[in-house]
C-alpha cells in the first residue's frame, strides 16, 4: 500500500447526503462570520456616519491640514529644534520623542532596578530579602498617578531654589528647576575622539571574539568585560588628551532667574522617570524572582557539584533558564510602562498626550483626528515592543530546543 497517497483536497470523496444548512458546521461557521462582518461593518459605518454628520452639523473643521499650521505655543523640553513658529506636525514629533525618551530610559532603569530587587528578594540575608519584599509590596499596591504626584510635588518641595542650588564642583547643579549638567562643546579636531570611540567599540568586538577563541583553544579565561570597558572608555579619553582637549565643557551658569548653558534635565522628566521606574521595577522584581525560582534547585546543586562557583552558576546555568520564564511577562511590563508614561500629562511633562492630545487638540479642536493619531501611535509602539521581545524570546528558546 502506498503511503505516498496525498491528502485529498477538502472532502471531495466524502459521501454526500447533504446535511441541512443549519446542521453543517462549516456553513454555520460561514453564517456566523458573515454575521459578525455585517455587525462590525455596520457598527463602524454607523459611527463614521454619525460622526461625519455631527461634525458637519456643528461646523467643525475636519482633515489633517492642521498639521502644517503654525502652533504658536512653547514646549518645555524638546529633543529637536523647536520654537513657537513651528507647525503642529512638529509638536507631534516633539511629543512623541519625549514619550519615547522617558519610556526608553524608564524601561532600562526599571529592568535594572527590577533585576536587582528581584535577586535581593532571594538573598540569604534576611534583612535584604525583607527590604526587597517591603519595596515590592509598597510600590506595586499604590496607584501610579499618586506616586507621580508624590515624586513631583513632594520632591519639588524638598529641593532648593535656583540661588541655593546643590552643586557638585560648580559644574553640576540640582535645584527645583531641574538638574543642570555641563554639556560638551565640540571644537575643531574633536572628530578624532569620535573615531577613537568607534575604534574602541570595534576593537572590543574583536577582543570578545578573540577571547572566545582563545578560551576554546587554550582554556584561558580572559577578563573580556573589563578590557572592553577599558577600550571603549579609555581610547576616547586618550585621544582627548593627545589631540589637546578639543572638547570643552559648557558649564551651566546662573544668569538672571535660571541657569543657562549646559544640559537641563527638567524635574517633570525626573519625577515621571523615577515614578515609572520604581513602580514598574516592583512588578519586574516579582517576575524575576518567580523566574529564578522556577529553575529547579537541582540545577544549582548540579552546577556546584561540578565545581562551578556561584557567579558562574548564575550566569551559565540559572539565568539562561530563568530568562525563558521571565521574558513574556517582562514584555507586558514594558508595554505597561510605555502606556503609563501618558500620565505625564498630570504633572506637565510634555509627552505625546500632553502636547499633542492636549494643547494641540485644544488649539485646533480636531479631537477625532488627534485622538486617532495618538492611539495609533501608542498601538504601533506596543506592537514594535512586542515584536522585538518575541524575537528575543524566540532566540532565547531556540537555545533550548
Amino acid at each position: 500500500m502506498s503511503s505516498e497517497a496525498k491528502k485529498p483536497q477538502a472532502h471531495s470523496t466524502m459521501p454526500n447526503n447533504k446535511p441541512l444548512f443549519w446542521n453543517d458546521p462549516e456553513k454555520r461557521a460561514l453564517f456566523f462570520q458573515a454575521l459578525l462582518i455585517l455587525a462590525v461593518g455596520g457598527a463602524i459605518w454607523i459611527i463614521v456616519d454619525n460622526t461625519l454628520a455631527n461634525l458637519e452639523q456643528r461646523g467643525i473643521t475636519t482633515g489633517f491640514d492642521f498639521l502644517s499650521k503654525p502652533a504658536g505655543f512653547g514646549i518645555l523640553q524638546s529633543l529637536i529644534e523647536y520654537n513657537e513658529q513651528e507647525s503642529y506636525g512638529r509638536t507631534f514629533i516633539v511629543g512623541l520623542l519625549n514619550t519615547l525618551l522617558v519610556s526608553g530610559i524608564g524601561i532600562a532603569l526599571a529592568t535594572l532596578l527590577g533585576f536587582v530587587i528581584g535577586v535581593a528578594r532571594l538573598s540569604h540575608n534576611w534583612l535584604i530579602s525583607r527590604l526587597a519584599l517591603v519595596y515590592i509590596e509598597i510600590f506595586r499596591n499604590i496607584p501610579l498617578l499618586l506616586q507621580i504626584f508624590f515624586w513631583y510635588f513632594a520632591v519639588l518641595r524638598a529641593l532648593p531654589n535656583a540661588k541655593q542650588s546643590l552643586s557638585i564642583g560648580e559644574s553640576v547643579f540640582l535645584n527645583i528647576r531641574g538638574l543642570y549638567i555641563p554639556s560638551p562643546v565640540f571644537e575643531a579636531g574633536s572628530s578624532i575622539i569620535l573615531i577613537a570611540l568607534i575604534t574602541g567599540v570595534i576593537a572590543s568586538f574583536f577582543v570578545s571574539r578573540w577571547a572566545h577563541k582563545r578560551q576554546d583553544d587554550t582554556g584561558q579565561i580572559f577578563p573580556t568585560t573589563w578590557v572592553n570597558l577599558g577600550l571603549i572608555v579609555g581610547l576616547p579619553v586618550i585621544a582627548f588628551f593627545i589631540s589637546g582637549s578639543p572638547v570643552s565643557l559648557e558649564y551651566p551658569e546662573l544668569k538672571g532667574f535660571n541657569f543657562r548653558g549646559g544640559i537641563t534635565v527638567i524635574p517633570e522628566f525626573l519625577a515621571l522617570l523615577v515614578a515609572l521606574s520604581i513602580y514598574t521595577a516592583a512588578f519586574i522584581a516579582e517576575i524575576v524572582r518567580s523566574g529564578i525560582q522556577s529553575v529547579h534547585h537541582g540545577q544549582t546543586e548540579a552546577a556546584h557539584a561540578l565545581g562551578l562557583p556561584h557567579g558562574r552558576t548564575l550566569k551559565l546555568v540559572i539565568i539562561p533558564q530563568a530568562m525563558r520564564v521571565i521574558i513574556p511577562p517582562l514584555t507586558s511590563q514594558y508595554l505597561n510602562l510605555t502606556k503609563n508614561s501618558s500620565l505625564a500629562t498630570a504633572i506637565g511633562y510634555p509627552d505625546l498626550v500632553s502636547v499633542f492630545a492636549g494643547t494641540t487638540l485644544n488649539q485646533t479642536g480636531q479631537a477625532v483626528e488627534i485622538i486617532f493619531i495618538t492611539m495609533a501611535v501608542y498601538l504601533l509602539i506596543s506592537l514594535l515592543i512586542s515584536v522585538f521581545m518575541n524575537w528575543y524570546n524566540k532566540r532565547m528558546s531556540l537555545v533550548e530546543r
Binding site: 504658536g72 518645555l76 531654589n161 479642536g365
Partner: protein, 315 residues
C-alpha cells in the same frame, strides 16, 4: 434643537471650570458658585424658569471645546477667550462677553521684579490649551526674551507648581491671577505685575448651527446687563414690575412677547433678575470688592460708567 432638548430634559448641562475661585468653584457641600456659574444659572432661569436646574460639568481647558462640540454640554461658561479661530474652525459661537479681561503675570515678591520686561529667561507656569499659551509666546518673542513654559492641566496644579517654586512667573488672565493668588498659603507673598499683554474677552459659547439657542444664551447675558442699566435688582424687581416704565414692562414680560420670540416664557428676563440678579450683583457677589478676590469693576463697569459692558437695546 438644543432648547427643546433642554426643556425636555428638564435641566441645563453647563460646562464650567474644574475650580477657579470667584468664577466656578464647588463649595464643601458640592454646590457650584461663581460668575461663570451664575451665567449658567441665568440661562437656566430663562429657559426653564428655574435657575437651579443646572447640571455642572467640570472641564479642564483641554477638554472644554471637545465637550461642547460633541454635545456633552449645552453651553460652555468657563472663562474662555473669544477669538476668531475659535469662532470659526472650532465650530463654536461666542454669545457675548461676561468679563473683560487681559493676560497678566503674577510673581513672587521675593523675586524683586516690577515689570514683565524684566522676565527674560524666566520659567513660566501656565495652563494647557489656553490662549494664554499663545499670547505668552508672542509677547516674549516680540520683546526678544526667552522663557521656559511649564504647562499644567488644571489651575490647581498651576498654583501648586508656582508655589513650590517650580517657576518664577505664573501667567493667566488677570481675573484668574487674583483668584489663584488667594489659593496661595500666603497670598501677600505674591504680586501681580502691571502689564496686561492681551485682550481677553471671556464669555459663554454655544455650538454653531442652532440660532435659537444662540439667541437665548446671548440675550440671557444681555438681560442681566440691561437690568443693571435699568436699575433692576433681585431685591426690587418684584416691586418695579408694577411700575409704568414701558421698558421695565417689556423687560419683565408684562408687555410684548420677547419670550415667544426666544422660544421661552415671557417672564424669562424677570426670572433671571429675580433668581440670579443683574450683572452688577453677579459681579459684586462673586468677584467684587467685598470678596476675597476684591476685583474692581474697571472695564466691566457699565458703558455709562466708563466701562465696556453695553447691552443692545431690548426692543
Amino acid at each position: 434643537a438644543t432648547l427643546d432638548t433642554v426643556k425636555e430634559r428638564g435641566y441645563l448641562q453647563c460646562g464650567v471650570s474644574t475650580g477657579l475661585p470667584g468664577f466656578s468653584n464647588p463649595d464643601d457641600k458640592g454646590n457650584w458658585q461663581g460668575l461663570d456659574v451664575d451665567v449658567c444659572r441665568a440661562v437656566a432661569a430663562a429657559a426653564l424658569g428655574d435657575a437651579s436646574k443646572v447640571k455642572y460639568v467640570p472641564l479642564n481647558a483641554k477638554e472644554r471645546f471637545t465637550a461642547l462640540q460633541s454635545g456633552e454640554i449645552d453651553m460652555l461658561s468657563r472663562n474662555t477667550t473669544w477669538t476668531l479661530t475659535r469662532d470659526t474652525t472650532l465650530g463654536l459661537n461666542f454669545t457675548g462677553v461676561s468679563y473683560y479681561d487681559g493676560q497678566g503675570f503674577m510673581v513672587s515678591k521675593k523675586l524683586g521684579v516690577s515689570s514683565a520686561l524684566e522676565l527674560d529667561g524666566a520659567t513660566v507656569c501656565i495652563q494647557a490649551g489656553t490662549t494664554t499659551e499663545l499670547n505668552l509666546a508672542d509677547y516674549f518673542r516680540q520683546n526678544n526674551m526667552t522663557y521656559q513654559p511649564v504647562v499644567f492641566d488644571t489651575s490647581d496644579q498651576t498654583v501648586q507648581g508656582f508655589e513650590a517654586g517650580r517657576c518664577d512667573v505664573l501667567t493667566s488672565d488677570q481675573s484668574q491671577l487674583y483668584a489663584l493668588r488667594i489659593k496661595l498659603a500666603d497670598p501677600s507673598s505674591a504680586m501681580v505685575l502691571p502689564e496686561v499683554i492681551s485682550k481677553e474677552p471671556l464669555g459663554p459659547s454655544v455650538r454653531q448651527g442652532d440660532d435659537q439657542w444662540f439667541n437665548l444664551v446671548k440675550w440671557s447675558l444681555f438681560a442681566a446687563v440691561t437690568a443693571e442699566e435699568m436699575g433692576l435688582t433681585s431685591a426690587n424687581v418684584d416691586q418695579m414690575k408694577n411700575s409704568d416704565n414701558p421698558d421695565v414692562k417689556r423687560f419683565t414680560g408684562a408687555e410684548g412677547d420677547f419670550g415667544k420670540a426666544l422660544g421661552v416664557n415671557n417672564d424669562w428676563a424677570y426670572q433671571i433678575v429675580k433668581q440670579v440678579g443683574n450683572y452688577g450683583e453677579i459681579f459684586e457677589r462673586n468677584v467684587g470688592a467685598n470678596t476675597p478676590l476684591g476685583i474692581a469693576r474697571g472695564l466691566n463697569a457699565l458703558w455709562s460708567k466708563g466701562g465696556l459692558q453695553y447691552a443692545p437695546p431690548m426692543r
